[in-house]
């Protein structure tokens, strides 16, 4: 059997646009409070949902990037907080790239590939302070301060 993929493309654009707006709001909440559990959970779920839809339609660059974001957010969920301002910046870059991709789908343009450095950075798990060098949290402890709520 074959599915009406034009219909699903329209739904993808509608739902992804809503999800990206939710991701944007969640990131703004995380900017204020890096341990905002609701925002962390929302971002994880929205990235997961975009990934599943994009994979269903063969939008591989969207699926790849949203998968990396989802994996990154899994690490954030485990840590209970965004671990550094750099990590937050990375998530914002991911959002901007996804927005450009969904806009390309909407205008029926060729899908842009995600910047390889963005994908690599998302895949590098953030180290917790005290785990040794290599992560953005380099042991200074600054990022582990309790963020005012």
């Amino acid at each position: 059997m074959s599915l009406d993929m034009a219909k699903y493309r329209r739904i993808f654009i509608e739902e992804s646009t809503e999800h990206l707006a939710e991701i944007s709001r969640a990131l703004l909440d995380l900017e204020k409070e890096m341990g905002n559990g609701e925002a962390i959970d929302t971002l994880f779920r929205m990235a997961h949902s975009i990934k599943s839809m994009a994979a269903s339609l063969g939008y591989d660059p969207v699926a790849d990037l949203s998968h990396r974001l989802e994996d990154r957010m899994e690490g954030v969920r485990r840590a209970g907080r965004v671990r550094s301002p750099e990590e937050l910046g990375l998530l914002f870059r991911g959002l901007e790239t996804l927005e450009a991709m969904v806009a390309a789908v909407s205008s029926e343009e060729a899908l842009p590939q995600a910047d390889a450095s963005l994908l690599e950075s998302l895949a590098q798990e953030e180290s917790e302070p005290g785990e040794g060098p290599g992560g953005a949290s380099d042991g200074s402890g600054g990022e582990r301060k309790k963020v005012p709520t």
Binding site: M1, L3, D4, K7, E15, S49, S52, A55, S56, E70
Partner: protein, 122 residues
């Protein structure tokens, strides 16, 4: 043929499952958009089969499966998972879910999985 409840927070996925299974004679009797709704609609509608997404707001698909099976141990539930969710799928199967289908959905795979679990249920 079965009366089916679809639980998924994404309208995209709910419509896709519906479009795949309705031509096979299954009747979609309800759609839930989160884990709490899934449990409530299961109670209300008593479907013969539930397709349950894992990642949902308010209450996860895994929690919803456990809640449904605690009330009705014979409930027939098929998980909808994505790549990378193997651990969660295993947890759902251990909790009593019958089988799973993987996103992106392949219509033939969805149809054959549902057929298999419903035949076992007879």
């Amino acid at each position: 043929m079965a009366r089916v409840l679809i639980a998924d927070d994404a309208s995209f996925m709910r419509q896709m499952i519906r479009e795949i299974i309705e031509p096979e004679g299954h009747e979609v009797i309800g759609e839930a958009t989160n884990g709490i709704e899934a449990v409530e609609l299961f109670r209300e509608l008593q479907p013969e089969l539930v397709t349950m997404d894992i990642v949902m707001p308010k209450r996860s698909g895994i929690d919803a499966v456990k809640a449904i099976l605690a009330e009705q141990p014979t409930a027939c539930i098929v998980m909808c998972s994505a790549l990378g969710q193997e651990t969660l799928v295993t947890e759902a199967l251990q909790a009593g879910a019958r089988d799973f289908i993987v996103k992106p959905f392949k219509p033939d795979n969805v149809i054959s999985t549902l057929k298999k679990v419903l035949e076992k249920d007879d």
